[in-house]
């Protein structure tokens, strides 16, 4: 008796939705094993991880605050991945976006001038992220360099650039030598949605972007072009679409969204620049994109789920003294299971009896 994989002619809709849910279930199962192995009561740990973040207003707001950058980045990455462009460097684009927008905040510091400042900062952030993302696009289309490697390595460039700026030229002179900039002026800070929380207008902005991207992906010719180039490059050429131009477009778009997430984080949640501005949003967003089936609305759901693991991880750190690395392990396992479960979409597993072989 043995298992064989048979290619499916069509993928049922139930499986498309079921496969990521199965991946989540397997991750939770693994989590139980890991908690038990670490000597904790698995049920209490799961409660702390996945239920506590949703049990009060503060927790819910925090989830939204964390989900905002994750989803913003992930919807851009989803477009990239759909078209077979493997942008792994969103973390770097996020940081460069934060740097570019913050530059404007710092340049006008002490003399902020008018309501144009905040929109201009957001535009600068998006532009910075987009330009930084165009480097791997240029290297890919002009020299045939693998974009996975170049985009990933550029993350280190961005991190070191950030390090240098906040320790050097941009350091707050009255900051006791801490590696951070001054706190931005109120005019250069993203307005809060309500008093007594951290939720700012970044979250509704993110929801707007998700809606726009959903329309772009499903209802416009550009969305079709993205899918077609990813599915069948030769057919895309027959349709008259240029793969090179599309590579530039999706890198610029995903870079812009990552950069926008970066400046929203810097000017909204943190309100200054510091090296630890991102707990790895750009990398976690890759998991969000795949868990969300490379679909903008799916990314929204997946982003909220991953945000919960971030908050839950912080809770667990405090209440169980679990290292934050456990969160990373969960996120990694989740991506692993998502990709593994995707096999079920393309293949049917059958049990073959007897000596047919």
């Amino acid at each position: 008796m043995r298992l064989v994989l048979e290619r499916r002619a069509e993928t049922p809709l139930a499986l498309r939705i079921g496969s990521p849910l199965l991946a989540v279930a397997l991750t939770l199962l693994s989590a139980i094993v890991i908690f038990a192995a670490l000597g904790h009561d698995p049920w209490r740990a799961l409660h702390i991880y996945f239920v506590m973040p949703l049990s009060d207003s503060w927790g819910l707001q925090e989830v939204a605050v964390k989900a905002t950058p994750l989803v913003l980045i992930a919807v851009g990455l989803a477009l990239c991945y759909r078209s077979n462009n493997w942008n792994i460097g969103a973390e770097g684009q996020f940081l460069v976006g934060a740097l570019a927008g913050s530059w404007l905040a710092l340049a006008t510091h002490g003399a902020p001038d008018g309501p144009w400042l905040l929109p201009a900062m957001l535009a600068c952030g998006a532009l910075g992220g987009a330009l930084f993302a165009l480097i791997p696009a240029l290297l890919k289309t002009r020299f045939g360099a693998n974009e996975i490697l170049t985009s990933l390595m550029l993350v280190y460039v961005a991190e070191l650039l950030m390090d240098w700026l906040v320790r050097g030229p941009w350091r707050d002179p009255h900051g006791f030598n801490m590696p951070q900039t001054v706190i931005f002026e109120p005019e250069a800070t993203i307005p809060l949605l309500m008093e007594g929380g951290r939720l700012n207008i970044g979250t509704p902005l993110m929801l707007l972007v998700v809606a726009l991207m959903a329309v772009l992906a499903a209802r416009t010719l550009k969305g079709f072009e993205i899918r077609l180039v990813g599915e069948a490059p030769r057919a895309a050429r027959f349709a008259g679409f240029s793969e090179t131009r599309l590579t530039w477009t999706v890198f610029a778009l995903s870079g812009a969204l990552a950069g926008l997430a970066g400046i929203l984080e810097a000017a909204g949640t943190v309100r200054q620049l510091q090296p630890a501005i991102s707990p790895g949003y750009g990398f976690t967003a890759i998991i969000v994109a795949f868990l969300g089936r490379l679909n903008p609305v799916g990314c929204l759901v997946a982003g909220v789920f991953l945000a919960i693991t971030f908050i839950g991880g912080e809770n667990a750190q405090i209440l169980l003294r679990l290292p934050l690395d456990v969160t990373r392990v969960f996120q990694g396992l989740l991506l692993f299971y998502v990709l593994a479960c995707d096999t079920l979409l393309l293949y049917r597993v059958r049990l073959v009896r007897g000596a047919a072989a």
């Binding site: 069509e10 329309v215 416009t220 599915e231 027959f238 008259g240 047919a356």
Partner: protein, 509 residues
């Protein structure tokens, strides 16, 4: 009485819901040339893949010289004495003939020994080949000889040939038939897969005919007519085409190509050299030639997938379009059908409506106010389905869910529905069943009668002789002058396809 060489009994093979072989019986005797006839999708390839150990039957058994055997792998089949030459070759382009043969041997042997044996076999079986040549330098016919010799190295008792003549010139076919006669004389059996009836009647003494996975007849093809064989294959009469070749016309020229040269895109591709022709309204021009002689490049240049060096090298209704992309040419009323259905003409995993959008987004009004008009796209699919009898389950299935013939009807119909002024089509009926092929050819003829200019690039000479008004041959990237089909013989065309008559032009160029 000696038992038959190989016998398949009540073989059943399922692929998911599809029943590819439905209790199939096949019996091949020693020293017999046995035809396996059937349309595409009838289950011929599935059956022989089981005989060669590539697939396992779900039910039924295979007997070899009277004893039941299981064939878990091609290696096991080769050990019994079964060899197979596939339709699509598996040769390493950058290696020599002898190296390719040596790599395929089940027991390793020193290269000089292999080379000597290749030379010996090629002389003995009338398969001229030089063992030291790299494969990329070889014509398709020569590559097929490499594959045959590779099988003969194993001294097979049964040789399976899958559609061997589909890539050969008429002269090369004669050579292959002589080789087959030689194999038979030595007492080897040949299982000959084909859908070319005249060929089968000439060289085979037995034929098993498959239709929709079932054996419909086992007969002596020499006692049948081509028409009766076709009826068994298709399960009904195939109507003749309504077409009479148009006389020399002085209708306005729609497409004019002037001195078009285009370098090859990849190292093993073919460069176009100084291609010139005129195509008039109401006319079908056929481009014949053995695969790999520049057909793909010609299609890419005419469609605009690759741009010509100068705008004036391609004129569409007098306008220089050589530097315009494919969509600009579509907006001028041109339409294109490439050779590969899946992956080129259509995206396998996208629904038909989006495959209609694929070639229609520039000229069919599928995009309104920046948004896709899904209703209009679906309407287009429905219209193609009606006009071209596309058989499918759901209203808008993924392209890969359609059979080859139905998808071909869709990709041709998708373009014809636009009433194009110019249609460039490559291999319009390649791997398509007889019914669909007839429908497509009739549609091309009708389109030309309505005043469109049609260029058909095909390796199927019968098809071109049936529908084309004039015929040109492409060889090593050069195009011969087009001549009226009426005055042409198959021999003349065959010689051109083999390169005779191009020699002087090549030296001059």
């Amino acid at each position: 009485m000696t038992p038959p060489l190989v016998e398949a009994q009540r073989i059943v093979k399922r692929f998911g819901a599809l029943l590819a072989n439905d209790h199939v019986d096949l019996l091949v005797r020693v020293g017999e040339v046995h035809a396996l006839l059937g349309e595409n999708g009838a289950g011929k390839s599935t059956l022989v893949k089981m005989l060669y150990g590539l697939l396992q039957p779900n039910e039924g058994r295979i007997l070899w010289q009277g004893r039941p055997v299981t064939l878990p792998s091609p290696k096991a089949a080769r050990a019994l004495g079964i060899g197979m030459v596939f339709q699509h070759f598996s040769l390493f382009e950058n290696l020599t003939v002898a190296e390719n043969v040596a790599l395929a041997l089940d027991a390793a042997a020193p290269l000089p020994e292999v080379a000597a044996r290749v030379a010996e076999l090629s002389a003995a079986y009338g398969l001229p080949l030089s063992p030291g040549r790299e494969v990329w330098r070889l014509s398709v016919g020569e590559r097929q000889r490499v594959e045959i010799i590779r099988c003969l190295m194993q001294d097979p008792k049964l040789l399976i040939l899958d559609e061997p003549t589909s890539v050969l010139t008429p002269q090369e076919c004669e050579g292959l038939f002589a080789t087959i006669a030689r194999l038979r004389a030595e007492g080897r059996a040949v299982l000959y897969i084909s859908h070319k009836l005249e060929e089968v009647r000439r060289i085979c003494e037995t034929a098993t005919i498959l239709r929709q996975g079932r054996v419909v007849a086992a007969t002596d093809p020499r006692a049948e007519t081509a028409a009766s064989l076709a009826r068994m294959m298709v399960g009904g009469d195939v109507a003749a085409l309504r077409h009479e070749a148009a006389a020399e016309s002085d209708a306005p020229v729609r497409l004019s190509v002037r001195g078009l040269s285009l370098p090859a895109e990849d190292p093993h591709g073919t460069a176009l050299r100084d291609v010139s022709f005129d195509l008039r309204r109401g006319e079908i021009l056929g481009v014949a030639g053995v695969a790999g002689n520049g057909q793909e490049e010609l299609f890419a240049a005419l469609s605009g997938e690759r741009l010509a060096p100068r705008a004036g090298q391609i004129l569409l209704d007098g306008a220089p379009v050589g530097r315009e992309d494919i969509n600009a040419r579509r907006r001028r009323g041109a339409a294109f059908v490439p050779e590969e259905r899946l992956g080129h003409a259509a995206a396998p995993r996208l629904p038909l409506s989006e495959n209609a959008l694929l070639s229609g987004h520039a000229a069919n009004g599928f995009v309104r106010g920046g948004l896709l008009d899904r209703g209009r796209m679906l309407g287009w699919v429905d219209a193609v389905t009606r006009a071209f009898d596309v058989r499918k389950g759901p209203r808008d299935p993924e392209a890969r869910a359609l059979s080859g013939g139905n998808l071909q009807k869709f990709v041709v119909g998708r373009e014809l529905l636009r009433r194009p002024g110019l249609l460039v089509v490559a291999q319009p009926t390649w791997g398509v069943d007889a019914g669909a092929a007839r429908l497509i050819r009739q549609a091309l003829v009708d389109l030309a009668r309505e005043g469109a200019a049609v260029l058909v690039i095909s390796q199927d000479l019968d098809e071109l002789l049936e529908i084309a008004d004039r015929l040109a041959v492409i060889f090593h990237g050069r195009l011969s002058p087009a001549r009226p089909v009426a005055g042409l013989t198959r021999e003349e065309i065959g010689l051109l396809m083999g390169g005779a008559g191009f020699a002087m032009a090549a030296e001059a160029g």
